[in-house]
Symmetry: D2
Subunit: 381 residues, 4 copies
Amino acid sequence: MKELNIGLIGYGFMGRAHSNAFRKVGNFFDLEYQPVLKAVCGRDVEKVKGFAAKWGYESFETDWRRLLAREDIDLVDIACPNDMHKEIAIAAAKAGKMILCEKPLSMNGPEGVKMVQAVEKAGVPNMVWYNYRRVPAVALAKQLIDEGRLGRIFHYRAKFLQDWTISEDLPQGGAGLWRLDVKVAGSGVTGDLLAHCIDTAIWLNGSFETVTAMTETFIKRRKHNLTGKVEKVGIDDACAFLARFQNGSLATFESTRYARGHKALNTFEINGEHASIAWDLHDLHRLQYFDHRDEGRVRGWRSIHVTDGDQPYMGKWWVPGLQIGYEHSFVHQVADFLEGVAKGKPASPTFRDALETQYVCDAVLKSARTHRWEKVARAIK
Amino acid sequence: MKELNIGLIGYGFMGRAHSNAFRKVGNFFDLEYQPVLKAVCGRDVEKVKGFAAKWGYESFETDWRRLLAREDIDLVDIACPNDMHKEIAIAAAKAGKMILCEKPLSMNGPEGVKMVQAVEKAGVPNMVWYNYRRVPAVALAKQLIDEGRLGRIFHYRAKFLQDWTISEDLPQGGAGLWRLDVKVAGSGVTGDLLAHCIDTAIWLNGSFETVTAMTETFIKRRKHNLTGKVEKVGIDDACAFLARFQNGSLATFESTRYARGHKALNTFEINGEHASIAWDLHDLHRLQYFDHRDEGRVRGWRSIHVTDGDQPYMGKWWVPGLQIGYEHSFVHQVADFLEGVAKGKPASPTFRDALETQYVCDAVLKSARTHRWEKVARAIK
Amino acid sequence: MKELNIGLIGYGFMGRAHSNAFRKVGNFFDLEYQPVLKAVCGRDVEKVKGFAAKWGYESFETDWRRLLAREDIDLVDIACPNDMHKEIAIAAAKAGKMILCEKPLSMNGPEGVKMVQAVEKAGVPNMVWYNYRRVPAVALAKQLIDEGRLGRIFHYRAKFLQDWTISEDLPQGGAGLWRLDVKVAGSGVTGDLLAHCIDTAIWLNGSFETVTAMTETFIKRRKHNLTGKVEKVGIDDACAFLARFQNGSLATFESTRYARGHKALNTFEINGEHASIAWDLHDLHRLQYFDHRDEGRVRGWRSIHVTDGDQPYMGKWWVPGLQIGYEHSFVHQVADFLEGVAKGKPASPTFRDALETQYVCDAVLKSARTHRWEKVARAIK
Amino acid sequence: MKELNIGLIGYGFMGRAHSNAFRKVGNFFDLEYQPVLKAVCGRDVEKVKGFAAKWGYESFETDWRRLLAREDIDLVDIACPNDMHKEIAIAAAKAGKMILCEKPLSMNGPEGVKMVQAVEKAGVPNMVWYNYRRVPAVALAKQLIDEGRLGRIFHYRAKFLQDWTISEDLPQGGAGLWRLDVKVAGSGVTGDLLAHCIDTAIWLNGSFETVTAMTETFIKRRKHNLTGKVEKVGIDDACAFLARFQNGSLATFESTRYARGHKALNTFEINGEHASIAWDLHDLHRLQYFDHRDEGRVRGWRSIHVTDGDQPYMGKWWVPGLQIGYEHSFVHQVADFLEGVAKGKPASPTFRDALETQYVCDAVLKSARTHRWEKVARAIK
């Protein structure tokens, strides 16, 4: 078994999710590579020290450039806010490190292009943490689609609904709230939530053709945690768009942080000629499946409890009937990445794959400004 | 089209449900016989007059013996409290009338035997209003079982849960509350609610062999509406029993009026070697079906939305997706009865069929007293 | 009790639904007016005769002008295809009849304007059969919104999904299939299905401001039943649009007949500052309600089983726990209409109310052509 | 932070679940004690070596007596089949080790008594792995009951349904199938599955008074993996029983491995005067709650998505909306145990607590033989 030394940048929510994945993957999967928690990097020395102790990192750094300079680091995992992804990723590529990057890849498409060029020039393994691809029920949906069970696709619809920013008293910016600060996040729900929906949609339904969108900022001004002043809110609180895919299907997408009663309701449904599939994150261990080829009298939506050994990833865990949760999607992604490294075959989504999502986000945000249908840019060569 | 003159006895909840069925059946089913609302009978002259006007009965009576004596009545429908079923039914049989009788057939098995003997001696068409057999989803369950799709049956479980008698202030007896008066009702939930579960179980799973039961009266004394005094409560508020069926399957049954949150949750589930079925009255237009022969990866409980033309009775109503409700089960039962009359082939459950349920209730109530397993009596010859 | 003589035009699906409502309403509601099934009108003499016999109409006509000329007709109920609504309604208004008209009101806004002007000039009671307003769960939603329980509204989303036209072999036009013939229907899912969603949305959420839409015709050519030739399909098979309401909320709407697994999935969800509400037609007797003011630890979506006497309309039917179905929404609408006539206060939606839906449909269809956001026309004076 | 050295006996399904819990607990909980994976013990040297490598145990043993003799072991975790619990536990107590023991505590009550006496005499911390008490939704149910929200309890019902032994070809005995071998397991579903239901019931609803039960062995003979011969099956394939609790409530319990469509459907429902609660393992992150004190019109079962920081244990994991799974119940149990050790206050269920479940199982199995109601033995002094 080969050791693969991890250097993690960022110790927030995602830093924990990634660390948990690195620590667990070897207990459940048989892999050639074993991640070793070599170092974690963060600006606050007390916090990064505490994090290292809690998670078993051997060392810590407070300057990411120092981390990249270390020869004992094989892989750099970027788990810090969006506005730092580009600079770190390009530097890490130059340093010849493997790179994992939190989603969204970048603040926008042009930034993403540079990142893709950097990793491809350096020839380093790279992947973006669009973790929902590795929820077993979602992976099962992918299998069914790839097997052609749905036939011609007519409709795709996706939503990501939350309700945590409805209070006017919630400030923006700083630790834990950088997602509300447009300078750090780049956008609001579009880059944070719809990016997940878009990545899943591309994976399941192929490329987008055109979009028309609307966005809204319901609460226009909030106190900024870093300046202490009430400032204009620059992010989109909500975004909805219509789309047409290259396969001829029609789609609707919607995301908001103002949908009372929904904490993290990430959903998709896809309707094909022969069958339909639906999923949602609030019951992530289930897949809804309707097959018109079932005998008429007993046809119905099947609630598939995805916990069996012949369903994606589930053979690695417990026994039928016993569900896994959110964090396992990260474990699966690490497993697939490490397997890809061993086989010399990259696991998706690579930076290049993730750039496509960035282009869709750019077209969506542009359409919200122009009030017109916008064409989604094609991938760079 | 032949007219069939109805004489209804009782104008309460069931009097309305039956009247609605008689009035509607001809609009939706193609039948040789058309019910005519000839007369309704009740003790309170003002109320019976008002009921006749509201439902379009041509006349009314205040003495059921006068109704039975009328030559223009072809069918007597007994929709009054349990303690009067026997006397009226036997007299109606002697008068040569067709008879429909509300469930339960009788206060107990011995009474039921006399009623069966009377109708069979008279040779008159007869049926008991165990209406849930005619809910389309339940009728579909019956089809699937009869087709052998479930294979060997291992388990049957049924419940009928309500919550309307939890308040200590609720009195017993009199109009609307005779179900709490043991002298009128015969028993509590056993005859009122479990009788439904038992009838469905016999229909779907065959005859019972043995039972062991417990009953409880949670509120021991209530004001009696007829005497004005606080009196001992004689009914069972709750009853649960274990059973073994002749087909070797094991069963559990439970009913109560003290299950907060359940208004009329009548449910059954049946587990066979190959497939399972579940249903409940709160979503009566759906059948849950699990078939182990489905391919493993996409196997799941199917939620069958029973509204299609190829599903029992549904071709008579609207279009797929549009549900019917509780009252339609009575319409279906009238349709089946009238079709049976036309063909000379009785529709189930006949008085004889319903007697079997009475025997099960008797064994259940006896077991609750003896604290032993009791054998269910076999049908009379 | 006063008799109100009904003259029905059309004996298809809606002719049955309306007739059932007229026949039943008096059995369950206490009303000053009692509908009398005086005459039904249709072009095929054998069919109209059969329909009259089945439903108990006293007479029949084969020319709607003759029906309108009859003095014994108080109310004309227009239940024939969309392309005839205008001419009949205007003539009926001139004849001084009360008018009920199937939805959508008209083929388009300009037609609708003339109809509104005609009934208002004549001063006759008028109503359009947007029946879903009278589903008890939907009426309960309306109460909750009117009581201000949701607070400021952020989002509205609605869908109406079907799957009955996926086969290429299905022809267009003629009896039962006129909804696929653009010349008769005016549009596809927009006028047929989205019109329902739009009417409900206006009722619950107020007026629309702007929309942007896309439509698609998946199967471009179908055999036409009347010509026998394969002809271009003129209707929209699917339509999705984004909208902004005058109250500042954002909305998404979608309808299609190509969503496998959904027979008639008419749904809406509305997210407010304090509470959210969701409903769907496949389980029409339930309302989903989330109230953020509930204590945090035990907060959750409530599945309200709308069958209690204190919930809209339900006191008229059975007992708690026993559900009603689709057809009852028509009974309720007749009851409200008759009550409105008695009180001299019209029940909604009047022709004028329904015109607003027509304007939204027009803007949606226009936007699908122009690929731009379109403003919804304001009501006529 | 103090290290606490773990010695695990058994490396099957439960060995993995416990190991995962020991490894993760420190990453998510702030504890005084940190488990150290010191040694794992199993009979097969290759397998135990592999397990040690995969999970990071520092050493291994093939004889449990040697493990107990090691001074560097603080805590012995018994995760081997039921027939070895007693001997190991008593020896471990004598050796002064803390003891965790897989459920059920023992083969029967008398064995359990000796184990309780041993640990109490030795004064060592001890706990039994009834892990479902630590599912957050179940812990929330416990809070609500303890706060008196349900009022007087009328009904308790529980089931644990599986379907994995329906095939006649499945053998009994040996690795992975010892649960079917009565000599090793002690009983079938009673000790394996109902023991879970009983433990939860005692925790939530207090002590049992009396029971009446039936058991069945559907497949009478199976090949035995250890002898290679077809032998009589000694376990109960299914068991159902009625019970009365000391608080006056009535209960039904059922378990089987012959319920098609249910993989591990562990459920309970409890009906009180004011409120009801229901839960099932297939959607373990949800609690169903009905409170009659909610306003009538909007009263309904609440589906509580237990993922918020103010709900039991959930503040330690991710963010609202993101669910955890089965394995987390073990992490929580270790956390509670370690906290108990630090505070000198034992976490439940101790061996003494678990003995009560054993007594219920004994009464159930006895009743199934005697066909009588049996009284549940009171705890030893």
